[in-house]
Symmetry: C2
Subunit: 276 residues, 2 copies
Amino acid sequence: MDNKIYKSEEEFLKDYDSNQFEKLSMTADTLIFSVASEETGNYRKLSEKKFSVLLVKRDNYPFKDKWCLPGGFVGIEETIDAAAKRILKTETNLQDIYMEQLYTFGDINRDPRMRIVSVSYIALVDKNRLKDHLSKNASWFEMNILEDDKEIQVTFDNHYENFSIVIEKKLKNPTSDRYEYVVKKNTQLAFDHAKVIVCGIARLKNKIAYTDIVFNMMPKYFTLGELQQVYEVILGKELLDPAFRRMIQTKVKKTEKVQTGGGHRPSVLFQYQPKK
Amino acid sequence: MDNKIYKSEEEFLKDYDSNQFEKLSMTADTLIFSVASEETGNYRKLSEKKFSVLLVKRDNYPFKDKWCLPGGFVGIEETIDAAAKRILKTETNLQDIYMEQLYTFGDINRDPRMRIVSVSYIALVDKNRLKDHLSKNASWFEMNILEDDKEIQVTFDNHYENFSIVIEKKLKNPTSDRYEYVVKKNTQLAFDHAKVIVCGIARLKNKIAYTDIVFNMMPKYFTLGELQQVYEVILGKELLDPAFRRMIQTKVKKTEKVQTGGGHRPSVLFQYQPKK
DNA sequence: CTAATAGTGTCTATTAGACAGTATGTT
DNA sequence: AACATACTGTCTAATAGACACTATTAG
């Protein structure tokens, strides 16, 4: 850097060489999560809820024919949030969807082409809102998650293909809840997206406990049974009905509508009610 | 992008033009938090704990003579984490300090020179570990935080200068806990660092409730009174002794040592004990 | 003795877990 | 009638809040 003395910020900026530091490329990658209903065949049984993520098949190198998260480069005149929204629109044709920044992944060789830093986002959608607006290479994968202290296993299934990943978790520091993820098995996911997915699942699990973000995955009207299933499939464990209903009653409002036809007592439809 | 068909990833990569997308600059900015003890004058009274942040006076444009967070450009061959560590070492001469990524700020005009995306980090240090290793322009500022639903006010004081900022909080979405911060008053902090500080304070407040990260700000041996004060100054509220001791007993281990000389009953010194 | 902090006992209020029970639709 | 889910009542366990009390030292 030169040592010229400037008298004002204007003068300094006019003279500033924006290329004196090396620049790098940035992408926004989006974890689009949803919960889908799978019919069971038995007219009496409830449809099973499946926790799903949207993946895109790469039709170019690198990682040609592998699956990856919807993503794209951040433009020089575009905020990162705007890039993430643009990508969501491109892949799902949806706007006004819940999104939040997840984490920024900056390993040097995470992309074989060159140094690319990825800012990841989580998006939550109600699957009823999108039927066939998906882009050509995009596909919903149902996930099954098996987790203990040391390892996470996720299996992905889109009814044509299925595969699984195994990720080892290591606490970065005994005082915190931050994990370092080490990919032990992954054949089908491009880049470091296996880690991104696992990181996003952890965030979502955490946040449904102390926020209302689940409702972004629900239709306007829903039964408490359905809502409970969504919690259960994300948390990966069953909940007790009375405890669940006690917890949820502050967040929802009963409607006059009921849902019948299930071969059992009709259930009341509820709506989300944000607390003031 | 050209449409040449490649037969392999190797062939593709050899041909790849890494400059086809616009690149941008990235910095890592670090919130270095600590809790300092301020003597009270009265030999009997405990020293007051002050929640502090390390700021650096800019000696160059832009924002010449304003205060900012320690930060620097991320090198093209350097991970973002490594950049953050390098910056911490430069400013405090400390290594092996607790750090975690906070958030990535990517507004287009957050830096008047050019498009710079900032990945912010939180670092927590025990102030006893650094006495006079600070870099020339760095200074610890004690913070006083006043917060309600809508607004955060922080005053900064380093015993020579003091100033305050006012930030409005707006929930981005009723279902979540994400805020948009709008700077209402700020005369002394450079860039968007007022927002970054407020964002970091919020994260810290949150995380001390469900992790053990406070212990990164404590010396090896401490009294429960001191520890409670640290919690209180970060949370901005008083805690009840019996409840605090019940909560903390699973995290600490009593030692044989006691601290005397305070004109009152001596207190037992404790150590952090991570749970297995 | 006094001021100040250290540390404990215990009552109460709130919340979470568990289980058993009742209600009601469709075939 | 039987199955499957909807929904509730209530006991218990665990946790958090509140307050009062005892302990101990330097000056």
